[in-house]
Amino acid sequence: MIGAGQVGATIVEALHDEHNVTVVDLDPGRLSALGNRFDVATIEGNGASRRTLQEAGLLESDLMISCTSRDEINLIAAIFSRNLAPETSTIVRTTNEEYLEVWRERQLDVDFMVSSELETANAVSRIIGLPAARQTDVFADGQVQIVEFDVADRDDGDSIVGVPLREARIPRDSKVAGIIRGDRMIIPRGDQTIDVGDRVVIIGSPDAARVWGDILSENKRRLDDIVIFGAGRTGRAVARALVDQGLRVRIIEPDPKRAKYTAEQFPTVRVYQAKGFDPEFLDRERIGQSRAAVFAMQDDAKNHYAATLAKLHGVSFTIAIVHEAASTEVFERAGIDVAINPRQVTAEEIVRFAHDPRTRQVTMLEGDRFEILDVTVRPESEYADQPFRTMPIRGALIGAIVRDGQAIFPHGDDVLRAGDRAIIFTESARATQVEKAL
């Protein structure tokens, strides 16, 4: 691991149990903080130096992750790694979309590349697509969607809320994978009910997820008119993702040059050169009437203030991009609907790649308390060729399987076969166990 910042730390946290991790960073303070928390080796040095890389044991390693905040360092580390140890896989974090494009064109010899901005933008765009969702992610090329919803007190939620699940009218092709009630997680049985105040985790087809969103969201209308505060790299990436979804987007950016540049890049977007903290401006431009606001400024405190102000002006749904690790909780406690940490998102993306080779994808929910795994079933697995009805529930649930590239949302009589990809909701603590069992 090159880089022990927020991204590095999150990755280490997810990987240190099952892997031997060596962390390289220039800052001894960060290294010792990591070394104290986790059982990892640390080396003080420059990741873009061949000697440091050799010292860190690159030659014996399976994977090199370069996730410093500087693109060029990450790329150079990857190039050195490829030269010194051609067998070692490389993952590079980048903030530059151009590098990502070049990599996709296979012009960069890197095994995996992740852009914080793009991952963040995708996360925002997924949430905007499902307004009631706290978090959502897609598996199996978009055939399976997992969503975490807040269950609010609503008049017409009766078909689902407060009724035993076996009687509830659950949308087709979907499954309640888990109910989070306070600190408890419940893997639901037929007699379980969903109550107001719960959070539910749904695994289902994208259509079903939309139906769930309609049932559970406070306003039925799809989020259109979206205001983005801040037109930095993240703000612009979010704008691009939303415009691509066909949504009406407005951007507020105080810096004249950046505002001008943004207006040039987005012909269909209205760009205001203004401060987001000016109540008169917010009022005049009816910012309060927008369905959702995304706060993508550099400073968490500013985002927080602007988001609170926007709420006061009537914006019903607020999404903040946060930068400090502690901010997520602060924001959500303060009533901002969703807080997204780009570093967290990036780390998740990297961890997905670094996991067990049979595990294609991992999503973390509620910080890192729960995980969604995408695991291929081995022939020797004790669960292979078992019908779902007879499977024991041990803190994990198979929400969907992918067979021959086709997503199936299994019922009790369906049988799990070797070679199926199972999409599983589980507590993080059990993730390894689940992987082994399958």
Binding site: P256, A263, E264, R270, V271, Y272, Q273, A274, R284, E285
Partner: protein, 513 residues
């Protein structure tokens, strides 16, 4: 000693104070005249074919060759030919070309063109592809003179392609630089980075389209679908369609031909009014989709269709024409006026006022940038519209950052300023021209309605051709006084060169070092 020092000082002073390399610029004009003189061989051949005297063309050719060569020799070679000299060269070249043409007319000894002002008017109208004529008896002219008159427009059109594609963008004038350099994609970027190459390709397209039109028109005549279309007529009218010229060898212009020929000419006028670089990609590179993606092209076609529908309604409503005739004459007049061609399929002088006002309005629209059409041009209207919309938007929403896009690319604010000032200059010149015409008509006692004066000023400044009243499509500019004709000559010249290159010649800072 003192004298010598003063002389040297004066020379130094002069060299520093004049920042334009006039000798090099004049030399280049001479070269242009020299090459133009070869074009006079074409009417010579026509004269021989029709057993008419070829010597006026030979003599005019020889004289202009010698003059051109002399000026070229007198000019400096390898001097500095930059943007400033460019303004001078294009402005003077058009004057000189019209001069060569006028010399030819004078040498033919035709009565109708015996007056130097008349000869120069007809020549300027030719080389600026305007199509306004002082002739009163067109059919009375020999074939060779008629042919030379048609050819002058075709040559003018070739000049305009170079002007529009290569020269004016370099001089940062005209709407084309924003069409060309700012379109996306590597292939679309520039047809060719080398101007000479670009010009050659577009000339090939221009020549090719002319040949196709000749073939179609001649085919219509040969198959007796339109017996009135002889080979000579086919060639003559194709020569004035592609340059959006409008001269005709018939006194009744295109009215002399059958519906099939009129439709053919309508279509080719519409093609001639479209951006040549765009057409090159659509037709030669076989990427027709590019037309639908081009904002200017869409507006251009939209204008043509809307105006045709409106005029058709007027013609039907006033019972002037019925059925296909109404649509055909509406389309012909609309396309002819808007593309600044100026041929006529009917005498629209007799149309109701609303129809006339509509046609005068179209005179200010013009064709697309990068075509041989004159006038303001569609892209400028398009951009002005966007600027106005932004102004209104920012009145209500002062914080909105409005960047103006054309074909998905940002238009530089300086270009927008240039567009606004061009339109102001254009309207200003139009007003001044109208005033001068009205005052002069009053002076010489010519019976001129205000709408006639407006139409004549608009038609000459926009390089269209026919006006209204006595100068209507079947009429002639002959009755106007010499002074009025000089005003019109100036308007044609200004309009053709997009005003700015000429106007800057009259500013002090242009000449200063």
């Amino acid at each position: 000693m003192a004298r010598l020092t003063r002389a040297r000082l004066r020379r130094l002073f002069r060299r520093e104070s004049i920042g334009v390399d006039v000798r090099s610029a004049i030399g280049l004009v001479g070269t242009n005249v020299k090459y133009l003189s070869f074009a006079l061989l074409a009417p010579t051949v026509v004269a021989l074919l029709y057993s008419e005297p070829p010597w006026p063309f030979l003599a005019a050719g020889a004289i202009s060759f010698v003059i051109g060569l002399t000026i070229e020799r007198a000019g400096r070679h390898g001097g500095h030919l930059g943007i400033r000299e460019g303004f001078f060269v294009v402005s003077v070249t058009w004057l000189a070309a019209a001069g060569v043409c006028a010399l030819t007319y004078l040498l033919t000894g035709e009565d109708q063109l015996a007056h130097p002002v008349d000869a120069y008017f007809e020549s300027m109208s030719g080389f600026t592809t305007t199509g306004a004529s002082v002739l009163t008896d067109i059919e009375g002219l020999p074939y060779s003179v008629l042919f030379w008159r048609q050819l002058s427009q075709w040559l003018g059109g070739m000049g305009i392609i170079v002007l529009a594609i290569a020269v004016l963008p370099r001089l940062r004038v005209g709407g084309r630089q924003l069409l060309e350099s700012e379109m996306p994609g590597p292939e679309i970027e520039q047809l060719s980075t080398r101007i000479r190459d670009t010009a050659r390709r577009l000339w090939a397209l221009y020549i090719g389209l002319t040949v196709i039109q000749i073939a179609i028109l001649a085919g219509l005549g040969w198959t007796r679908i339109d017996p009135s279309m002889s080979l000579f007529e086919a060639v003559s009218h194709a020569l004035t369609t592609m340059p959006t010229g409008g001269f005709s060898t018939e006194a009744r212009s295109a009215e002399a031909f059958g519906p099939e020929s009129q439709w053919t000419i309508t279509i080719f006028m519409a093609i001639a009014g479209a951006n040549f670089a765009l057409m090159y990609r659509a037709l030669i590179r076989r990427r027709p989709g590019i037309l639908l993606r081009d904002e200017e092209f869409k507006v251009y076609v939209g204008f043509l269709l809307a105006a045709t529908i409106a005029v058709t309604a007027i013609l039907l409503g006033d019972d002037i024409f019925n059925g296909e005739e109404a649509v055909r004459h509406a389309a012909f007049q609309v396309v002819s006026t808007m593309t600044t061609t100026g041929m006529a399929s009917t005498d629209f002088n007799a149309w109701p006022l609303l129809g006339l006002v509509l046609l005068i309005g179209l005179m200010f629209v013009g064709g697309s940038a990068g075509s041989t059409a004159g006038s303001i041009k569609v892209v400028r209207h398009l951009l002005l519209g966007k600027v106005l919309r932004r102004e209104l938007d920012q009145t209500v929403h002062p914080e909105v950052v409005g960047r103006i896009h054309l074909n998905r690319h940002v238009v530089d604010e300086r270009v927008l300023r240039a567009v606004s000032s061009f339109i102001l200059l254009y309207v200003g010149l139009f007003v001044v021209g109208t005033l001068l015409l009205v005052v002069d008509a009053d002076r010489v006692g010519l019976d001129l309605r205000l709408i006639d004066a407006i139409a004549v000023a608009a038609t000459t400044l926009g390089n269209i051709g026919p006006g209204l009243g006595i100068a209507g499509p079947m009429g002639s500019f002959e009755p106007y006084s010499d002074f009025s004709k000089l005003v019109m000559i100036a308007l044609m010249w200004f309009g053709r060169l997009e005003i700015v290159p000429i106007v800057v010649l009259f500013t002090r800072n242009y000449w200063r070092a």
